[in-house]
């Protein structure tokens, strides 16, 4: 059955057939018995890129394009390991990164994780940080 972004929300109750865990389990397989039997762990209790993209479609259909864009970036980030997420966040905080370091983060997001939307977002930050003197110590005083 085709996905109806305007009517199939919440996915978990209206379209459970479309929701899977990262390991491919269906929603009704997430049970306490499965947990006791050792068939489940924390990494299964997570959203997948596919689910988040469906959520983005729902948001767009509801007239919330910014929320949809956020969920689009989130879908990309499902492939990014926890440590790298924390590294990128730290890099985006004020006065942490040089423009070269932000560019490296963007390239890595594209190359290793195919995260084009998030990479563009980091590059946009790089551009604004340069004009607002928000880059790392070495470049804080650099001419625009």
């Amino acid at each position: 059955m085709a996905f109806d972004a305007a009517g199939d929300y919440p996915l978990g109750t209206r379209r459970p057939d479309l929701v899977r865990t990262p390991g491919g389990l269906a929603v009704d397989e997430l049970t306490l018995d499965a947990l006791r039997a050792g068939q489940l762990n924390g990494s299964e209790m997570r959203a997948t890129a596919e689910t988040l993209r469906l959520q983005a479609e729902v948001a767009r259909a509801a007239g919330r394009p910014e929320l949809a864009a956020n969920l689009g970036r989130a879908a990309e980030l499902t492939a990014v390991p926890d440590e790298v997420i924390l590294e990128i966040y730290t890099g985006l905080r004020p006065h942490r990164s040089t423009s070269g370091e932000l560019e490296q983060l963007a390239e890595r997001l594209e190359r290793e994780f195919g995260a084009a939307l998030t990479a563009a977002f980091v590059r946009e930050a790089k551009e604004v940080y340069a004009t607002r003197k928000l880059l790392g110590p070495d470049e804080r005083a650099a001419p625009v």
């Binding site: 762990n41 007239g63 910014e66 970036r73 980030l77 946009e124 004009t131 928000l134």
Partner: protein, 492 residues
């Protein structure tokens, strides 16, 4: 005048709670003005080839980081031409026109600049604001958020209180820490307690941003709300973030399936000394435009922890209601404050509450202490356990849904006992000091049974055993490390 000649009435009145408060005259240069500040910019928007090139008195080369972010992600330039052409009074009338739907208003807000948004809601009187807020609420019915903490940070008591909060109808539960290393334990206790109280309740632990993200990644929390934003660039950077770092965090949480709500609130910029001479409402409108631009589904606002400062200036209470209304107009789910102490005066506190209570916001309080006041680690709240019956009675008086439900005494006690019992059963860290898991309740004599008993009959932490702070603090990194390793293991 000598004491003998003064009216006794005046002397006695001086002892009232209200006299402990400071009421000041506006000082716009310091941002100490609620709304319609003399230095607020004139609303303006200029779009060239689909790009915002001027926003509220600043051209692109004068934009600060917030302007850049709002201009790129937060303005619908197609709707803007239509929306910005409607005059202030007409927009204000539509907000209170019963024939104009939420959908139509939310669409128009997508094309309005922060200065415009602030100016329009400032035209409404409090009753009009309440009506508009009721019309614009995102959730079908109002709800509330609970605070669950205790002075001893005892996890079994946290679980019992979380269970009670869930059973009383709270939709979200927030905890925090006294000792930062306890964060994973406290978050786990509240998670287990809440789910046994009523499945589906969301939980969070308010701590530093990076640590909060770690807990969410590990699956110990299910929502986050500490994504604080501010209305001027210097304060934003003082908070050690930028619009891009916050928006990235938002996506990062969502990638792990965590619900996110940003936090903002009037008065924070003035309190931190960089309001840029602008009014609280205008700066909050900037925050809210930014929050929506970052793709957040909701916001906690209504001054929040700066409430005492906002209430000290004229129109403070009205400004706070205007903030909540603006958030709803921008299609954001609103957790509308009423958590930090708004006033020492119970009358003034309740009067302030009615702005959110009568229309019924998405979360009327964004933190009601389910415990007695002494156990509230959020610095003491506006309302706590002893006020629960008052809330229910006010709901009864007005026949208004304030998001709270009542039940008889015995199920409450049973609920608490069950929850602590189940915490002990499912969460060995709570009562099993001899296993390899870190011991939390220090006394090995504190059995699951006695813990359950004290949880259902005690009032708060004084009757509870102390925890062993040294071994708990050293166990915290072990807990997080172990969980992190297991979370990278694949199933099958």
């Amino acid at each position: 005048m000598s004491e003998q000649r003064r009216s006794r009435r005046f002397v006695e009145r001086e002892q009232r709670e209200l006299r402990r408060e400071l009421l000041i005259t506006p000082f716009p240069e310091l941002g100490l003005v609620a709304m319609n500040g003399p230095n607020d910019p004139e609303p303006a928007l200029e779009v060239r080839d689909g790009r915002v090139v001027a926003l509220d008195g600043r051209s692109e080369d004068e934009f600060d980081a917030l302007d850049h972010f709002i201009a790129r992600h937060g303005m619908d330039v197609e709707i803007a031409a239509e929306a910005m052409a409607i005059d202030d009074v007409e927009l204000a009338r539509r907000l209170v026109d019963v024939e104009v739907s939420r959908e139509v208003l939310v669409r128009l807000a997508r094309g309005l600049t922060p200065a415009r948004l602030a100016r329009v809601v400032a035209l409404l009187d409090p009753v009009e604001m309440m009506f508009a807020l009721k019309k614009l609420r995102a959730r079908r019915a109002p709800a509330n958020q609970a605070h669950v903490t205790n002075l001893k940070e005892n996890p079994a008591l946290l679980a019992a209180d979380a269970a009670e909060a869930a059973a009383r109808g709270f939709a979200e539960i927030e905890t925090t820490v006294g000792v930062s290393r306890y964060a994973p334990f406290n978050a786990m206790a509240v998670l287990v307690g809440s789910q046994t109280g009523r499945p589906g309740v969301l939980t969070q632990c308010a701590i530093e941003e990076r640590r909060s993200l770690q807990l969410a990644i590990q699956g110990i929390t299910t929502y986050a709300e500490t994504l604080s934003v501010y209305g001027t660039e210097p304060v934003f950077v003082d908070g050690d973030d930028t619009p891009w770092s916050k928006a990235f965090l938002n996506s990062a949480y969502a990638s792990r399936g965590i619900k996110v709500r940003f936090t903002s609130g009037g008065g924070s910029e003035a309190l931190m000394g960089h309001a840029g001479g602008c009014s609280m409402l205008y700066l909050e409108a900037r925050c809210l435009s930014l929050v929506r631009a970052a793709g957040s589904q909701g916001v906690q606002n209504g001054s929040i922890s700066c409430v005492a400062l906002v209430m000290s200036v004229p129109a403070g209470g009205r400004e706070i209601l205007a903030e909540n209304l603006l958030a709803a107009w921008l299609d954001l789910e609103v957790a509308s404050g009423n958590d930090a102490i708004a006033s020492h005066s119970p009358i003034r506190r309740t009067a302030k509450l009615m702005g959110q209570f009568l229309p019924g916001t998405d979360f009327v309080t964004s933190g009601w202490s389910v415990m007695p006041r002494y156990d509230n680690m959020f610095g003491g709240g506006n309302y706590d356990a002893d006020d629960i019956d008052e809330w229910l009675t006010i709901q009864r008086d007005w026949q208004v849904d304030g998001g709270r439900s009542s039940f008889r005494r015995s199920p409450t006690q049973r609920s608490r006992r069950q929850r602590t019992g189940s915490t002990a059963a499912t969460c060995p860290i709570a009562t099993e000091p001899r296993t390899s898991s870190p011991p939390i309740v220090c006394s090995p004599r504190a059995s699951a049974d006695s813990t359950s008993r004290v949880s259902s009959t005690g009032a708060g932490s004084p009757t509870w055993p102390k925890r062993s702070s040294v071994c708990n603090a050293s166990a915290s990194p072990r807990t997080t490390c172990r969980r992190r390793r297991s979370s990278t293991r694949r199933v099958r």
